[in-house]
Amino acid sequence: MLSALTARPAVRVAVLASYILLVSWTRALASNAPHAATAVLVIGGLALALSAAAVPFDRLGLGRSRLGFRILGGFALAVVLLLPAAARAGAAPILPAFLAVPAIVVAVGEEIAFRGALYAALEDLGGAPVAIIGTAALWTAAHALSHPPQFLIAVAAAGLLLALWRWACKDLAGPIVAHVIADLAL
């Protein structure tokens, strides 16, 4: 079973995509249960991070090369992600304090799953274009149950931007930093 997974990129993509979508949708539905939001978000974030368990750090985009630059790039990405909200700051939401830790876990878990493990698997399957478009599409689908439909275009655009960064800079540290800051700031 494991050897089939590693030998066939298509099978690996199918298994990973199914697992990630299942975790994301379960998290979205279960977090509506009373008194469950914090635990569900943390468990969901950790479950997403598990998708990269067998993937080397370098393949995830988490090598140490030029780490300072990449983290700095994450701050720049965060500026872009937050710009539309900052320009309309009066209408920007406030994240309740008790959701701060879950927000960090979910942001890191999502980046490791989508721009890490899934990106690497899709790149093996069809190269960079398939990886960029595929992660953006699956990222949007994963958010379909947690967001109103009118938000999904912006979600897709954020997924495309983060995937393009992953490709252009061969880096996951920047998207992780940016995603954590964006989730905490709003």
Binding site: P34, V79, L81, L83, I94, P96, A154, A157, A158, A168
Partner: protein, 235 residues
Amino acid sequence: MKRPAFLLPIAAVVYVAAAWQVSPGFYDGFAPQQPYNWVCPPLHISGNLPPTSGHLDIKVLGGVSDANSAFTDDAQVVMGFLPGAFDATGKTVITVDIKPVSPCPKSPGLTFSTNVYQITADAPLVKKANLVMRYSDIIAAPSNVYYATSPDGPWTSIGVLSEAQPFTIDVTTDKFGYYAAGYPTNSVSHGGPNSQLLPIAIAVLIIGVLVAGIPLAMVRRRRAAEGAGEEEDGG
């Protein structure tokens, strides 16, 4: 595959344009699915819809009222009743009504994070009911639920059970009257709306990227120059 740098700025512009079409804060779905409907919307809120009322008829069987929940159509207030929650003497049906109060009541020393709702029933409670109030994600979170017998007050804190779900506050009560969630105006634990913090955070991030980026770029250029020098020496 070559990595043309121009794609990233284009993607950034596309993202900003797409994000501008929706209200801020869609990240990871922490925000409520529906915006809060205000009787008196805060100044910075546009496109507000008026809040709705709720009505419930609870059956009484064998002198015991059924378990049921009264809620407003926009689900901003939900009140849950256990079996036998009411003194149902002589009744076959008990009616419960929830109405947003207009004009908005004010209370000195308190800031309400929700509308004020009048909750009435034609029978008194004998068991505590569970009251859940949703609040907006773009104003400071409430710390307490407040109760009054008149919209003019006085308002009494009846505490809070927990944050059952994000952007909701719940409490148990055995009284009908006026309810709102809020916090003492002089409370230091509530930072207020994001309107000041977010632009400052963005400015700090931009300055941080510039200030940290310059020395990092210089170090990288020096290393590259040293590497080239060593190659020339070696060649």
